[in-house]
Subunit: 340 residues, 4 copies
């Protein structure tokens, strides 16, 4: 890699075949920008949905996809005060959400969506849209944090008050779910993990799952969850599927239970019976990644708790299409692309 | 009324014709009981659903229905310390919920449901399941508080943090809705009220509604609500209907908006699209009346704010069947039965 | 006033005699700056402490004091997206606190402290450090909000959950206290106001005080407050004095009571006995103005609640030293300086 | 021990020599009482202050002291529904605080204070003032929970929102402090422990302390704490001493830091400078043990987290005076008395 060429994967249309490697110039930082030499990028399922044209049908081309990246600050604009060259930073995906409530929806500045993505050698980040990477993590590990880890953290530690000793049910073993499992274990929560694969459930146990349910063997996983909790029900469920699955989630919840809506993997609808909703005083909350302050708190926790992200496979920068294909195979852990 | 006869309306089966007036003995208070001479009873829509066999199909007969009542303590058990004779008290409907989280569902002791109801001359209340009535209210007014007012209060002041200046949309003009409107006005919230009746909407304005929407004239009331808020959406909606109406509620909510699920008047299902749920970080919460501490706080607020419950009509104790029939007519305000 | 001259009052040293009127050039906005033509400035007591050298002993000269200002955006930098020319804005005093937790202390960018103040014809504001002024207020009224109103709002509606019907005790009738009184009235709180002046207490009643205490006539004002609350104590107290006065505040608080520490008018020390602190589970919280999101919420509430700031006197721009002198006289309401 | 004799240690006046062993009858349970055969009692420092006449100068004699106890339910009153004979229960010390806010102070029913204490073979507990003991703990271990563990839990998990990765400073190695240290470790918090003894600090490390400070070697322990946190300060401090020590706590706190006031070991006064209080938006909260719901949640966490209370020494029932004397020696862990 030469220092004055900026390689990028650009969508020239929808579909993986139209994702093309191109070379361009290294961008110039504005007064408050960081020029970041990217070291590693992590894929999320929504990246595939964007490449395939499912999530943002009116995207303009060419477009550089992906949102997760870690890199080194190699230059800064004249007014930058939060960072200096040489620091290792992560991009903050919802760039205009520093803390508290989110900005009004239409003004979202989101990496890899309304803003260009991260699948390049170089990236400009506004200094307000970056955080220091946790020093204990490798580049590949750090790259996995911006969406999957922050979503799990926000659902479990910001939008919900974690009460050690309580139960949490985590659906599946995707990127958010594995971080949720690691956080649950570190927070003193009892995690129940569901999957259709006994092998993945075994791995989940090694990551700290308290109990596991194979929903293929036990389709009424809500009843199984209730049994595991002595009939009381689960205190918090991370809903990754939607549709009728959410009805089971409702059935599995304890009184004053909480359901965090996270996933886009299944149905685009949620449907609940009202009576148990009222009787158990259920709270359902929609989660959309998180704010920068939460990202900073999470990174501090990752250091304190010595959490290591689970990586399924690392690909080279010229293997990006294969990396996207691998994403379809239901990996156990994150898929990472390095620029080295 | 003789002092040693206890008249009660008892269900001897389902259906209004099987609600019969009977006479019995005045019950003896146990060590922690209050014997209350009931002065006024208020009807809730769920009382009709119980009488008709819709809500509790396995009810045992005979059964005294209704939950709301105010009366005077005329005798106390030997160990009672919270009250003394002569005080005017309201029964607390979820009798074993003093504060904080509710007790596990199956152990609920609920007046007019798992416990006998209030449609009698005399009632025993455990001293832990009663609160002082607000002195500024008449008996008829005070009798309306235990379910309708406390549900509105709990949704707006306990389960939600009220932020003066924010908007709240209140569906309809039933008992909970009118209290919600009065509280909204007194809390500095901007209340939007929906109804199919222009006449009721006019009355709502006199109670402090900021804006009104006739959803018959404007079926897309969610769009109307969004327009009234300059496109931002509503901060809090009290959902009284369910079903597809809840989809409109979701559409009408602002970013970080909140939907309180309260009603049993319409569908028994809730159904939402996931994308706006995630994007706007919506919170949906089920409300089931409230705890005793909230009841006490509400009564203090009713005094401080000089709130007067809206009463549609007062019936005599021998007119109970007519009072239930009147409930079907869509009254504007509560229906009260006096024992005098 | 000519359009190309920028008048400013500048401290050339400590003490009011060294506050001098000077003329300079109109500053040029940077890419994210608003150039604001100031219409009105409001004084706070801490402005006098800065002019006198009490609050920031190591201030560099020349220095333009004061923090509160309202004005019209007359030009914007090339990258500004939040505002446009012609809008009327208020400067947000802690410029780098958008929402949630505050930034680390040493990085504070504070108008009239680490940043230049507002006592000029023209001011540059970063677009992230401004909010729209409430349209219902005059320039003079709007200018009073950034410190006094936001401090009261933050203590009462952000750092504390307001519960209508509860009691709040407000010490004195200074700028923060009068806004607190108006908010209390509008939120459905019962406000007790203390003062040494019967005349001011009468005015406080016209602003909605529920009860008043003249602490000169009744030095044990804590006992008086307890009596007014039927022995229960006050739920929230705004502490403006410190020192031994805070001990009385502690004595006047109810169980689970809250004390907001706001003022710098009296002692620089707080001192409490431990036993009642523990027994009543008291919470004491330090308040430092507030974040921008709170400012926006407050302005929305001011519109909804039709709150009009209380102004004691308006001075011309050439009368600034007299305005500072007037501040010493214990005005009832804010002191405003207009640039017209 | 014969089954029909009830041994008790009774204060016949103030001072340890007037604590005398007596025999009496086994009490009869009222309708809602549990008769508990006590297995183990744990001492708290306040028990010594009561025996010595320091804490409750107007105590009536004879009086059975101590508050912590575990035992077996051997009989129940006729109306008891929450427990059955054979279950192992812990007494809940503030007997009338089930959840949420505490009851008004003067009505407190507190074991070993306004109610008789636990230093007996048999004890009556109202069924609402008991919780199941965690099954994984021995009798001696379980007996230590009601005051020391619940106080630490309430300060860290109920009155404060625990954020994994944040720092907590725990003063000393008394009973509350050791539980706090174990909870901190299990919650993912970084615990800094202070002590004057290097030996105790070594033990603290084996219980999971992240850092330790010997305040004899480093009297300016606040500066040491600030250094350990890279200058940012500590997020939460458990104040066990009061007086000038609380000033150091304030200095050691980070922005938005929190100080929980717990201890009665040192001064009876708290004293703070106002400026850092305001600037850092400090919250100080008084802690008084906790409510029953918190006790239940804590016991669930103790099971999930496999926490084992630290016991310094176990004494026989006839060795009570020696146990009280041992309390003065600064033990590392709780002192327990068994009735066996």
């Amino acid at each position: 890699m030469s220092s004055d060429i900026n390689r990028s994967w650009r969508m020239t249309g929808f579909g993986l075949p139209r994702l093309e490697l191109a070379e361009g110039r290294i961008p110039e930082p504005g007064p408050h920008d960081l020029l970041v030499r990217i070291k590693a990028i992590s894929l999320n399922y929504k990246d595939r949905m964007i490449v395939d044209g499912v999530l943002i049908p009116d995207l303009g081309f060419p477009f550089v996809p992906t949102s997760d990246a870690v890199g080194e600050v190699v230059a800064v604009g004249g007014d930058v005060s939060r960072f200096r060259t040489g620091q290792r930073v992560l991009g903050h995906v919802i760039a205009d959400w520093p803390d508290g409530d989110a900005p009004p929806v239409l003004h979202h500045h989101t990496l890899g969506s309304s803003l260009p993505g991260t699948l390049s050698d170089y990236l400009l980040l506004h200094e307000d849209a970056a955080v220091l990477a946790p020093p204990s993590l490798s580049d590949a590990e750090a790259s996995t944090l911006p969406i999957a880890a922050l979503t799990a953290w926000f659902a479990m530690a910001e939008a919900t008050r974690p009460v050690p000793g309580q139960t949490i049910l985590i659906q599946g073993t995707g990127g958010v779910s594995l971080f949720a499992l690691q956080f649950a274990h570190a927070f003193g929560l009892r995690a129940i993990v569901t999957s259709s694969s006994d092998g993945k459930l075994e791995w989940a146990k090694t990551l700290g799952a308290w109990q596991v349910i194979n929903y293929r063997a036990r389709p009424a996983w809500d009843e199984a969850a209730r049994e595991l909790t002595g009939g009381a029900g689960v205190n918090h469920i991370l809903e990754m599927v939607g549709g009728d699955n959410a009805r089971r989630s409702l059935d599995a919840l304890a009184a004053d239970g909480r359901l965090s809506i996270i996933g886009l993997l299944g149905s685009m609808e949620l449907s609940f019976p009202i009576v148990p909703f009222l009787r158990n005083r259920i709270v359902v909350q929609g989660i959309s990644i998180g704010h920068r302050r939460a990202f900073e708190r999470m990174n501090q926790a990752i250091e304190a708790l010595a959490i290591k992200p689970v990586i399924d496979k690392i690909f080279g920068f010229d293997e990006v299409p294969r990396a996207f294909e691998h994403l379809e195979k239901g990996p156990f852990g994150k898929i990472v692309i390095t620029t080295a």
